[in-house]
Each structure stands twice: as structure tokens, then as C-alpha cells.
């Protein structure tokens, strides 16, 4: 069968909502798109361990410490799971990490903002995981089988994470004046970057066309962003916090909130490396990888020694 025919059959399967599995035919561009998107997703889970990991040793109660430690471990597990799913596309985890270190692969820009106070553990769980779930629920229906299945598993854990974050920030919002101030400050700092997590406006998102045609992406950036805003506004009100957007207003006609313009200059700057923690996050990952090289070597040498016997 010639490539053109295979591509037609492939698109027919996509249109019929069939899942594409690792050994099925897929166009190179589909494979490349998935590798880029899935590895970015896996890297995000792993880099995302840093801002929260940074607070485990300072968590203010045994309960909070246990939950946060378990949560960050979940993120590591998600990273592992998505790396494995990505490897089904014919690329190794080592290659993916190499690309991350070379700056050729990205991770979610949100993790390039610092986690400054304990309230940030609330804001990250509530808003960042909240935005991620909105995206990931949609991705459960993505056309690539292994990715879709990994999203089903991950979404279950993420919804627990979001509740955990909301609990942290809610307790602070109802706490002492200093705690409330920290909670509001965390919301102020994380609100806009959370909205940026959905990516540029649909009109400025060059890869969306193919991704939608191939059903890798099932809903557009703007649709997902709006859904997140609509469900989050009342959650903020419930705990007495104010969303830092003076243009935020219920639009009766649309049945949605209107909201202010996102600072796209900031968005592109952070995407391109110019954010407060870009260098720190990447250097941390590189250092851990380099510091662990002798351990990995020893494990491989030991395994070889005993597989030959």
C-alpha cells in the first residue's frame, strides 16, 4: 500500500474515533507531534516536582507533610507513566531527557514561577493542577491509545491533588490576617500564569489545526481556558479571595465569564526561557542527572555482571 492510501485509512480510523496503537500505521508528522506533546507533558510532571518538593521539609503539620510528599511522588509517577507511553513511539527516555537538557524540549512554563510561601502549595494544587485537569480530562479522549489511557489514570490522582491544594488555601484564607494575606498573594501571583497554561489564543496557535484533525487535541485552548475560569471563580468567592482581574464579569448571554487580556509578552518571554526560574529548574534537573550518573553506571555494571553468570 502506498503512503497516500495508508494516510487515508489512518484518517478514516481517526474520524471513526478508533484509538491508534503503537504498532499501527501512523504518519510521521502524527508521531512527531505526539512525541513533542507527550514528552513536554512528562517533563512538566517531573520539573513540577521542584516547586512543591521545595516545601516538603517546611510543611507546617505532619498531615500536610505526608500529603505533600505523597502528592509529589504522584507527579513523579505520572512523569514515569507518560515517559513510558512516549517510548511506545520509538524514542527512549534518555533521548527525551537529553532533548530537555539541550533546551529542545519544553515543559509547562508555570513551573518557571517560584513557590514563595506555604500558600503557594495551595495555589499550585488548586489552580495549576486545576488547569491541568481541565486539559487532561479532555485528553482522555485523545486518539493515541497509550496517551489516552495514561490520562485516565492520571486524572483520578489529579483531582485529589486539586482538592488538597484547595484545602490548604482555604484553611489559610480563613486563618490569621497574615495567612489570609499569603493566600491572596498566592492567588494574585498564580492566577494569570495558570490561565497561560492553556497556551496562546486559538488564532495564534499554529499547531492546533493538525492536532484537532488527528484528534490528538480534542478541544481548543480558548474553550478549555474558559471552562477553567468558569469553574474556578466561584471557588475563590467561597473562601473569600479575590481573583486579580478587574475585567472579570459574568456574561449572561454567553453563560460564561468575560475576563481581561492575558499578558502575552510575559507568556512568550517565559516560553522562550525568560522567566524567573527557567534556569534554576533546568540546572537542578541537569545536576541531579549528573550527580546520579555514577549510581546508574554502578547499577548497569552490577546487572551485567550477574546476567553473564
Amino acid at each position: 500500500m502506498v503512503v497516500e492510501e495508508l494516510e487515508v485509512l489512518f484518517q478514516e480510523r481517526i474520524d471513526a474515533n478508533e484509538k491508534i496503537e503503537p504498532r499501527d500505521y501512523m504518519p510521521d508528522a502524527y508521531r512527531e507531534h505526539l512525541i513533542r506533546q507527550m514528552s513536554q507533558h512528562a517533563h512538566s510532571e517531573v520539573i513540577g516536582m521542584q516547586p512543591e518538593g521545595n516545601w516538603i521539609t517546611r510543611a507546617p503539620s505532619l498531615r500536610a507533610k505526608k500529603i505533600l510528599l505523597a502528592k509529589v511522588q504522584d507527579e513523579a509517577g505520572h512523569g514515569l507513566y507518560i515517559y513510558s507511553a512516549t517510548e511506545t513511539l520509538g524514542i527512549t527516555r534518555d533521548e527525551l531527557i537529553e532533548k530537555l537538557h539541550q533546551g529542545k524540549a519544553k515543559y509547562a512554563s508555570i513551573f518557571n514561577y517560584p513557590a514563595l510561601t506555604w500558600a503557594d502549595m495551595g495555589a499550585i494544587g488548586w489552580l495549576v493542577d486545576g488547569a491541568a485537569i481541565t486539559n487532561q480530562v479532555s485528553l482522555q479522549k485523545t486518539s493515541y491509545g497509550p496517551y489516552s489511557r495514561s490520562m485516565v489514570k492520571i486524572c483520578k490522582e489529579e483531582s485529589f491533588h486539586q482538592r488538597q491544594g484547595y484545602e490548604v488555601i482555604a484553611a489559610m484564607a480563613k486563618g490569621t490576617p497574615e495567612q489570609k494575606e499569603m493566600a491572596q498573594d498566592a492567588l494574585n501571583r498564580f492566577w494569570w500564569p495558570s490561565l497561560m497554561m492553556f497556551g496562546p489564543h486559538d488564532s495564534a496557535s499554529p499547531r492546533t489545526g493538525n492536532a484537532m484533525k488527528w484528534k490528538i487535541k480534542r478541544e481548543s485552548n480558548d474553550v478549555l481556558r474558559q471552562r477553567f475560569i468558569d469553574k474556578t471563580v466561584s471557588q475563590a468567592a467561597l473562601i473569600g479571595l479575590t481573583i486579580p482581574d478587574s475585567d472579570l464579569k459574568w456574561n449572561e448571554e454567553r453563560g460564561s465569564y468575560d475576563f481581561g487580556e492575558i499578558d502575552w509578552d510575559e507568556f512568550w518571554s517565559v516560553v522562550k526561557g525568560g522567566g524567573p526560574c527557567n534556569l534554576k529548574r533546568l540546572n537542578h534537573h541537569k545536576k541531579a542527572h549528573k550527580d546520579g550518573a555514577w549510581v546508574r553506571k554502578a547499577a548497569v555494571a552490577y546487572a551485567k555482571k550477574y546476567s553473564n553468570k
Binding site: 516536582m49 489559610m172 537542578h284 547499577a299
Partner: protein, 251 residues
């Protein structure tokens, strides 16, 4: 058995678990590879659970109205009774492995004994911990082998860690008045039996992979009286800072 004695006994054990959990959680996002990152922090999570259970019981037995969180967040350096070995830093992966490996051998004997005592709370905590510690022992034992026999560098690093941490092992079989009371009540094995168990296991595991047991005789002492290495102060400064900076806050 005096309740205060039992409380102090649980506090000592709980403190060691707590401080090790702190060290293990410091390794989060710094593991040599992702699976091991998860494994190492998982050891920490188990230890944190054990610490919490033991400190809740210690606080209850003490009867002064303190909670486990009060014990963790409001005691000063000299009020902590963890072994000095537990607070030693993650200088490299080998140091973390050796610290946990030795402490795990110790804990396995402690919990096996406690699982059989006539105290439902304590035997319950211990029965759960026995299972967790068995996994820790397997995992850490594998790393002793891999690092011991892996490469020249790994062999050298793990031998260095063993040599440098050895001076803290003596505390694990040291006895004070409280230990003797606990032994009498069947809550603990004798220092001599613990020493024999540790030495036999460590020496057979190490020699199997061409590592050696250090010959140095100097051993530290004092953690049962709240004497520590300088590391503990930094651990507590970090761990307790929010509770101390905002004493009226609930989290």
C-alpha cells in the same frame, strides 16, 4: 510500666523515624533516576507515617495535652532524642543508602519485638511497620550490593560512606536506664543482642560484596540525652519555621 517511660520510649523511636523521613524527603527531585527518586521518597513516606503514629501515642501517654504536631514543631534541639545516625546528611547517594540500610536493620529488630507486646496500639503500629521495613531492607540491601560490586567509583563511594558513618552505630546498641526497663517488660531486646544482630548482618552483607567493616573504635554517644551533631539544628530550623514564625496560625 510507667506511662511516662513508655511515652519517652515511643518518642525516641518516633524522633528517629521523623528525622530520617526529613532526610529522605530532601532527596525528592534529586534521585539518580526517576524510579529511584520515587523509591527513596517512598521510604521517607513510610518513616513519616511511623513517626506520626509513634508520636501521637507518645503525646497521649505523656498526658500533658500536647499533640504529635506539638512534639514535632515545638520542641527545641535538646528535646529531640533521635539517633545521630538518623540526622546525617545525604552527602551523596551512598551516604543515604548506608544511613538507611543500618537504621533499617536496627528498626527491623525493634519492630519485630514490639509487634509481640501486650499493648494493642504499639503492637499495631509495629506490625504495620514490620512489613514496610522488610521492603526497605530488601531495597537498600540491593543497593549495598550494586554499589559494592558495581564500579570502582561506586565501591569507593560506599566504602567511604560506611567508614564515615560508622562512629554513629554504637548508639544503636547503647543502653540507659529506660532501655533496661523496656527490656525487662519485653519491649526491647538487650543492647548486647542488638549489637550481635547488627554486627553479624552488616559484616556478612559487606564482606559478600568486598566491602569492609571499619576497625575504628570511637563511637558517639548522647542522643538519648538530647545531644546531637550540628546537623539537627538546621533540620529543625527548616522543619519548624512556619509554626514558630506564626504560633497562632492553624494550617
Amino acid at each position: 510500666m510507667e506511662l511516662l517511660d513508655l511515652s519517652r520510649f515511643c518518642m525516641r523511636l518516633g524522633d528517629s523515624c521523623l528525622i530520617m523521613a526529613h532526610r529522605q524527603s530532601e532527596m525528592c527531585s534529586k534521585g539518580p533516576f526517576l524510579e529511584e527518586d520515587i523509591a527513596q521518597t517512598n521510604l521517607g513516606l513510610d518513616l513519616l507515617g511511623q513517626a506520626e503514629a509513634l508520636l501521637i501515642y507518645a503525646a497521649e501517654l505523656e498526658g500533658k495535652g500536647r499533640t504529635a504536631d506539638d512534639l514535632v514543631y515545638k520542641r527545641p534541639e535538646r528535646g529531640f532524642y533521635n539517633f545521630m545516625l538518623a540526622e546525617q546528611p545525604n552527602t551523596d547517594f551512598a551516604f543515604a543508602v548506608v544511613r538507611q540500610y543500618i537504621m533499617t536493620l536496627y528498626l527491623s529488630r525493634v519492630y519485630e519485638t514490639l509487634a509481640k507486646v501486650d499493648d494493642e496500639t504499639l503492637s499495631g503500629i509495629a506490625a504495620k511497620a514490620v512489613k514496610e521495613i522488610a521492603y526497605h531492607q530488601r531495597h537498600l540491601g540491593m543497593w549495598i550490593k550494586r554499589l559494592g560490586e558495581g564500579t570502582e567509583e561506586s565501591h569507593e563511594r560506599i566504602q567511604t560512606a560506611i567508614n564515615e558513618l560508622w562512629m554513629f552505630v554504637g548508639e544503636l546498641y547503647e543502653e540507659d536506664e529506660l532501655d533496661l526497663k523496656m527490656q525487662e517488660a519485653g519491649y526491647a531486646i538487650s543492647g548486647e543482642a542488638m549489637k550481635a544482630y547488627l554486627m553479624a548482618n552488616i559484616s556478612s552483607h559487606l564482606t559478600e560484596v568486598t566491602l569492609s567493616v571499619p576497625k575504628s573504635v570511637y563511637m558517639t554517644t548522647g542522643s538519648k540525652k538530647g545531644i546531637h551533631t550540628e546537623y539537627l539544628g538546621y533540620i529543625l530550623a527548616e522543619m519548624q519555621y512556619l509554626q514558630r514564625a506564626y504560633p497562632d496560625a492553624k494550617w
